[in-house]
């Protein structure tokens, strides 16, 4: 067969909405040959997911092809009937998804879900369904192929009994069950921990080699793309603005957006430029300790009596004015720790000293008054704002709760806060859904600083944001700290980000601190094995993405 496996020409797609059609895809031209590995990179809303879902005929319901065609193996698939799709979906083209937590049906065993897919394929091929035992054998084979241990046991397990990485492998096994010609990977690593990310990327790479797969992988993480894809297309606002060899695009980006995107990727191997040096007029006079935790512990007890120690005897002290990093993978207890520091979760034992005062036993009114000095910024700005309240309400809320300010004063303060977070004053009349992710996170920050707190705890404040937006928010946070004399506890799983902004960092694993110290020292000479593993995994994608950086910086 000579022609391209997938040929998308002049493809335009509209999605009908309440306010009329939205042009989601504009003039897409893309060809994928057999054996190709193509990456599509772009921020959320750029249309990359809609594009690949169209290739599989599972695009949004209200969508309408305006122009152009998608040809798969010479056959136009834009107007295929459901029946014809069954011969393609999952068999010739298959897909792996972003979030392994939500893409497996929680009520069916792994084995049943995969054998069901096999059955569906056999039915579609019209050669009759094989025996249960044969399907089981094939399923266990597939699980083995994606590197999962003990397939026989996994067969009878449910998704919730598996870790994120294992689930992603199960989804990959499912996608491989039809021996597909084309595998589409939609952000396959975004929802995974750094070390697991690296493993999954390795797995995809080895499968490409072993099974001679053709792969389209989409991601907003250009590092992940760079590790898999030889060719790459950059999408921006529904258009492909640039495509070519990945190496070329990384080393010599042509389009403005690509340049911006590449510049925004934090490099794990570069020391922080320290956007803001310690403010000269600042507070060198009292480099005291603002927050201290002594032997902090949290034990969760399930109904059946088993105990899980989420945080196990943590000691830490955060100096006034510093950015204190907490790094670790999901399940390491970093979010529990953060919430305990603010007493949003009650510690099982241990003390929290804030500004010389033990707040661990505080209750009622004194605790409530204490809260104005310490605020929290949540991971996902999309869910941290009440969709039915205006931005003005959201920012003004802490003022109404904690102060006796009048309405007029609150209005004025809200406007001033919007000014601080560099957003127009008129935003106070808007609702959250009218704002972008980066804007929402700024609103959340404005809300957190409304009471002039001394401490901000930021729980993965950029991980739900696009990379270019992440860079902006990080810069902004550093400026703000200097301006308002704040102290941050900054939680992240992204080591490059930590290195960029944190003064001191602790590395957490399973509820304990495995290593701590000056951030730079941690990166230059990590002592603990786990820290080294984290940095190594992070480096894999970071290095690939930072091909363009001058060699001298590593």
């Amino acid at each position: 067969m000579t022609g391209p496996l997938l040929n998308i020409q002049n493809y335009r797609l509209d999605i009908g909405t309440f306010d009329g059609p939205v042009h989601v895809l504009k003039d897409i031209n893309l060809t994928v040959n057999r054996g190709d590995t193509l990456g599509i990179v772009g921020e959320s809303g750029s249309g990359k997911t809609v594009l690949v879902r169209s290739v599989l005929g599972i695009g949004p319901k209200a969508s309408k092809v305006v122009q152009g065609s998608i040809a798969f193996d010479g056959q136009d698939i834009t107007a295929l009937s459901e029946k014809d799709w069954t011969k393609i979906r999952g068999i010739r083209i298959s897909m792996i998804f972003q979030d392994p937590m939500t893409y497996l049906n929680p009520l069916f065993t792994i084995g049943q879900q995969i054998s069901d897919v096999i059955t569906a394929h056999e039915k579609a091929a019209g050669k009759g369904v094989s025996s249960k035992a044969a399907r089981r054998a094939r399923t266990e084979d597939l699980l083995d192929q994606v590197g999962l241990p003990n397939p026989a046991m996994l067969f009878d397990q449910y998704p919730h009994q598996l870790s994120g990485g294992m689930r992603q492998r199960v989804l990959i096994a499912m996608a491989l069950s039809g021996k597909p010609d084309l595998l589409i990977a939609d952000e396959p690593t975004t929802a995974l921990d750094v070390t697991v990310q690296a493993q999954v990327l390795d797995l995809i790479n080895s499968l490409v080699e072993k099974l001679n797969l053709t792969v389209i992988m989409i991601s907003h993480d250009i590092g992940a793309i760079a590790t898999i894809a030889k060719r790459c297309a950059v999408m921006y606002k529904g258009e492909i603005v640039e495509q070519g060899l990945t190496a070329d695009i990384l080393s010599a980006p042509k389009h403005e957006y690509t340049k911006r995107l590449l510049a925004a990727v934090p490099d794990i191997d570069t020391a922080a430029a320290k956007v803001v040096a310690e403010p000269a007029i600042g507070t060198p006079v009292k480099p005291g300790v603002l927050l201290e935790a002594i032997d902090l512990k949290k034990v969760y007890r399930s109904q059946s009596g088993t105990e899980v120690t989420a945080v196990d005897g943590i000691n830490l002290s955060v100096a006034t004015g510093e950015i204190f990093g907490v790094v670790g993978e999901s399940g390491s207890g970093k979010s529990t720790l953060a919430r305990m520091l603010l007493r949003l979760i009650e510690p099982t034992s241990g003390d929290i000293i804030f500004d010389g005062r033990n707040i661990s036993g505080l209750t009622g009114e004194p605790m409530r008054l204490m809260r104005r000095h310490m605020q929290f910024v949540f991971q996902n700005p999309h869910s941290a704002l009440n969709g039915r309240h205006t931005i003005g309400d959201a920012i003004g809320e802490p003022l109404r709760i904690q102060t006796s300010m009048g309405r007029r004063d609150i209005e004025a303060r809200v406007e001033a806060l919007l000014d601080i977070v560099q957003l127009p004053k008129m935003f106070k009349y808007r609702y959250p859904h009218e704002l972008s992710g980066g804007q929402k996170q700024r609103i959340c920050i404005a809300r957190a600083i409304a009471l002039n707190p001394r401490l901000l705890i930021l729980d993965e404040p950029t991980s739900a944001l696009d990379i270019s937006v992440q860079a902006q928010v990080l810069d902004f946070l550093q400026e703000l700290r200097a301006e308002l004399d704040l102290t941050y506890v900054f939680i992240s799983h992204n080591l490059a980000v930590i290195r960029q902004i944190c003064d001191r960092t602790i590395v957490m694993k399973r509820g304990v601190i495995v290593e701590q110290g000056e951030t730079e020292r941690l990166f230059l000479s990590p002592q603990h094995e786990y820290t080294r593993a984290l940095i190594e995994s992070g480096r894999k994608t970071s290095r690939a993405a930072n091909l363009s950086a001058p060699a001298g910086s590593r």
């Binding site: 599989l56 599972i58 459901e82 799709w85 069954t86 393609i88 979906r89 999952g90 068999i91 298959s94 897909m95 998804f97 979030d99 939500t102 893409y103 497996l104 049906n105 929680p106 009520l107 069916f108 069901d116 897919v117 569906a120 394929h121 039915k123 579609a124 449910y158 919730h160 989804l171 499912m174 996608a175 069950s177 039809g178 399930s302 109904q303 059946s304």
Partner: protein
């Protein structure tokens, strides 16, 4: 799973004790002197005093409570004043009729409600969806007694297709009592004609009783299906090439069934309570009718007995729902 079931059964016992205590409190808070009520309007003070001692009403409340709970444990629900027979015996005699009615109505509600909910979710905003919406709103809105009478007038009086009321005509000899449910007993006895007759009798009251319940099952199931059908794993199942019917009927339905089950459990209790109206309209010899006639003759022990029995069945039904939850959802088993 076993410990889960065991915990649920323990909860059941606890709730039962709670209900018993609550019933006791309510009867004692209610105004009026029960002894005087029992004795009747023309009784002398002496007679009232005798009755008070006889019923143990002269003892202190805590003492009365201990006696009451002790009686309950031994299955003694007291005596009916009107018939002078043990309340337990009478309740057990009437309960099967009510349970049979509720079971049939509930089956009707599930068998019709769940698929209709599924259909309207799949064809959301289509003609089927609109039709079921009107159907379910009328289901919730129509008062049972009115709807029952309309059905009687139409199908029994005008068309003459079905009997107006009752459970079995007087001339029909009931089958030997095994479960007390006529539909089941007549089948055990191999008497298809009796089965047919009792089925014809139960159709109208069952429809009236099930209509609001059917409507809410339909709505809950529809809403849940719509939600589930948008979830990621359904998209994934489509992408993997699983047939649409299988996705809807198995993958999605199993997930949507959980909240529907909760609704079914709640509706079961509601139905037991509503039988009072339906049984009155259709002259159905169940505990609802028994409670009404007892209440009208100020016979309180049976009313308390019926309350306890309805409470018991309601809790049992909801325990079963909880167990079904765990059976469907593996995540709950280890909890």
């Amino acid at each position: 799973m076993l410990t889960f079931a065991f915990r649920k059964v323990l909860t059941l016992v606890g709730t039962m004790i709670g209900i018993a205590a609550l019933t006791f409190v309510i009867t004692n808070v209610a105004p009026g002197d029960p002894a005087r009520l029992v004795a009747g309007p023309n009784a002398t003070e002496d007679m009232v005093a005798t009755i008070r001692t006889e019923y143990g009403l002269d003892k202190s409340l805590p003492e009365q409570f201990v006696v009451y709970m002790g009686d309950l444990v031994t299955g003694d629900l007291g005596q009916s004043i009107v018939t002078t027979r043990p309340v337990l015996e009478e309740v057990l005699r009437y309960a099967p009729a009510t349970l049979e009615l509720v079971f049939v109505a509930m089956t009707l509600g599930i068998v019709v409600g769940v698929p209709l909910g599924m259909l309207s979710a799949v064809y959301k905003d289509g003609p089927i969806d609109h039709a079921t919406r009107i159907f379910s709103i009328s289901g919730v809105a129509l008062p049972a007694f009115w709807f029952g009478i309309i059905l009687q007038l139409t199908f029994a009086v005008d068309l003459g297709w079905l009997p107006v009321s009752g459970r079995l005509p007087l001339v029909t000899r009931p089958p030997q009592t095994i479960t007390g449910l006529l539909l089941v007993d007549s089948l055990f006895a191999g008497r298809l004609d009796t089965f047919w007759i009792s089925l014809r009798h139960i159709i109208l009251p069952a429809i009236v009783l099930s209509f609001p319940c059917l409507a809410s099952i339909l709505r809950v199931n529809r809403a849940e299906m719509i939600e589930v059908l948008q979830s990621d794993y359904i998209v994934a199942a489509r992408a993997h090439g699983i047939a649409s019917f299988r996705i809807v009927a198995i993958y999605a339905l199993k997930n949507a069934l959980l909240p529907t089950l909760a609704m079914i459990g709640l509706r079961f209790g509601w139905m037991l309570g509503s039988t009072v109206l339906v049984e009155t309209v259709f002259d159905w010899p169940g505990i609802g009718l028994y409670a009404v006639s007892s209440a009208l003759s100020s016979d309180f022990k049976p009313v308390i007995g019926v309350t306890l029995v309805i409470g018991f069945f309601f809790i049992v039904a909801n325990t079963l729902v909880d167990l079904a939850y765990a059976w469907i959802d593996p995540r709950l088993r280890s909890a």
